[in-house]
Symmetry: C2
Subunit: 355 residues, 2 copies
């Protein structure tokens, strides 16, 4: 197959982890006889520096001409004092909106060989395997007004949590579709005892559930979900929730496995052009030092092969290679306990050789 992949390395360690992931993808292409073309685009702080815009129009074009997108990470202290519109994360938010990347999928699974690096006890973590489906283009992130106002003569500020019913429906459909291929259990997280949007969310969830009789729907309040993720994470199969709740809960959930550097994500769009990225940030403190763990990005590439290109075997080959390399004891600095830490490029090299 011939595929075009947009690469948006972004800032900090983004470049390093994307670079080595490209090497892995080249190896896969060779081994399985595919042709991957890579097109680089600027985003985030790097784009601000070079183009004065965290998401240049050019980058959008590059994405639209591709079959899938791999993103590194955006952000860094260099741009922290910038005005809002010139902050790296605005590039990411704008890209989500521009490409209608409405469904963020974050699988949370444990790696047998890394179980002990979790802050949680082994008996809580062992066997955890769920997916968080986060709505990504609505809610408080994009609602208007979002501005300073004067109310009763006093300074005040307002943000708006806005959803169209259809936006709620499509993210729930995504969750039920995924659950249908898994253990058939959806936990819909809301705050229906306080928010009207959550009450609509609950109604729509019930409607969608009726179309998937083989999938069980459970409602859970967001505060309780924040507890349950720690108390018994194994209970979850698919968690679906709105944008802000998803932002908080998915980062909380990333701690369960104790290996942030291992977690990948996909952001699915309505158009079929999806984006894949590690969930970790740009880690400015170790940027340029060849120390970053590239596995999250490499596994994101595997997600891309499976989800966007239908290359199941190829995806498995990468995942298997990662497993083998970890089992052999190879560790980047973030994972190393007693083992000697290897570099970003060494880790990628080992994974490449294992394919």
């Amino acid at each position: 197959m011939k595929k075009t992949i947009a690469l948006l390395p972004g800032d900090g360690i983004g470049k390093e982890v994307v670079d080595v992931t490209v090497e892995i993808l080249k190896a896969v292409a060779e081994h399985f006889n595919h042709q991957f073309q890579f097109n680089y685009g600027l985003i985030g702080g790097t784009a601000i520096d070079q183009k004065g815009n965290p998401l240049p129009q050019e980058t959008i074009e590059i994405c639209k001409q591709s079959d899938a997108i791999i993103l590194g990470a955006v952000g860094g202290p260099k741009w922290d004092q910038n005005p809002v519109e010139l902050r790296p994360e605005r590039g990411l938010l704008a890209l989500r909106k521009e490409l209608d990347l409405f469904a963020n999928l974050r699988p949370i699974t444990t790696f047998e060989s890394l179980l002990d690096s979790s802050p949680l006890k082994r008996e809580y973590v062992n066997g955890v395997d769920f997916v968080i489906v986060r709505e990504l283009t609505g809610g408080l992130y994009f609602g208007k007004p979002s501005e300073r106002v004067v109310k009763d003569g006093e300074d005040a500020v307002v943000d708006t949590l806005f959803y169209k019913r259809k936006e709620i429906e499509r993210i729930l459909v995504t969750a039920f579709e995924i659950a249908g291929k898994r253990r058939k259990h959806v936990t819909s997280v809301d705050k229906a005892n306080v928010l009207e949007s959550s009450r609509v969310w609950r109604e729509v969830a019930e409607e969608v559930a009726a179309r998937y009789p083989e999938v069980t729907l459970e409602h859970m309040l967001v505060d309780n979900a924040a507890m349950q993720l720690i108390r018994s994470p194994r209970q979850f199969d698919v968690i679906v929730t709105e944008n802000m709740f998803g932002d908080i809960l998915s980062d909380e959930a990333s701690m369960i496995t104790g290996s942030l550097g291992m977690l990948s994500s996909a952001s699915l769009s309505s158009t079929g052009l999806h984006l894949y990225e590690p969930i970790h940030g740009s880690a400015p403190d170790i940027a340029g030092k060849n120390q970053a763990n590239p596995i999250a990005t490499i596994l994101s590439a595997a997600m891309m092969l499976r989800q966007s290109f239908g290359m199941e075997e190829e995806a498995k080959a990468i995942e298997k290679a990662v497993d083998n390399v970890l089992n052999s004891g190879a560790r980047t600095a973030d994972l190393a306990n007693d083992e000697k830490a290897i570099s970003t490029t060494q880790m990628a090299e080992e994974i490449k050789n294992a394919i």
Copy 2:
């Protein structure tokens, strides 16, 4: 001293835990030569059943005539299908607003004797000691509009995150005051990379911090905070945040110690009339069975003695008694591992005797 205490047992185990707490308070009164008068009020489901209103006017009056309020818990499956305005938690929300209970304080501390009941490893949990200061009368909880709307001809829904600058200021002042008496570190949690309200929050935090030069202010994004609570909870001294973030993070934090049944809270008002309650819910599954852990409510009463009545010695006497009883191995069902579980009343009895 002579003090009037409003008691709002509410639903489920609320009655049981408040009943035994009254016994403890009577023992304290006798021992330290005080006079406590107790006035009972209805709230939540029980109030709906008896008065058709989750917060009868009578209850508000009883509270206003008292020096402090102790609440049990509200809610239960019996009222889950009720229309919004006839749900038990509306009573609690209305009470917060009515009495301007704007600052919710939740101390998260570990009990040496219970360390092993945490889902987190001992080395993460040992020595954890922080307070979450949650804004309780603003934000998404009370902002208008909160309603279904039609937008571009489509069904939609909106909730509103609204804060007056003064509301943000007073909760930050509360946090800095508390930090000044502790380890002098405030972590202000927001989502300034997305929300305008968070950007105002950050500005106000800086302004308030300038008035407390001895206290260090740190800003943390809410998604990162959700991670840090698990990854290294010992880093925190005082966490301050808006209503919804506080709801989620404080429930997450309650899992750190692994003993939900031990955690108390205070909701402070601008008028000096404060409310104290356990953080656990009404636990309908064990209601009426004399199995509930009363310690969270008993410790809430201790907070009341200290905070509302300035009775430091009396508060310490209760806290010391709880410690001693736990060290002696007494455990209610929620805490028991190998030990034989004792009942609500037995636990209270032991604490009373230890005072």
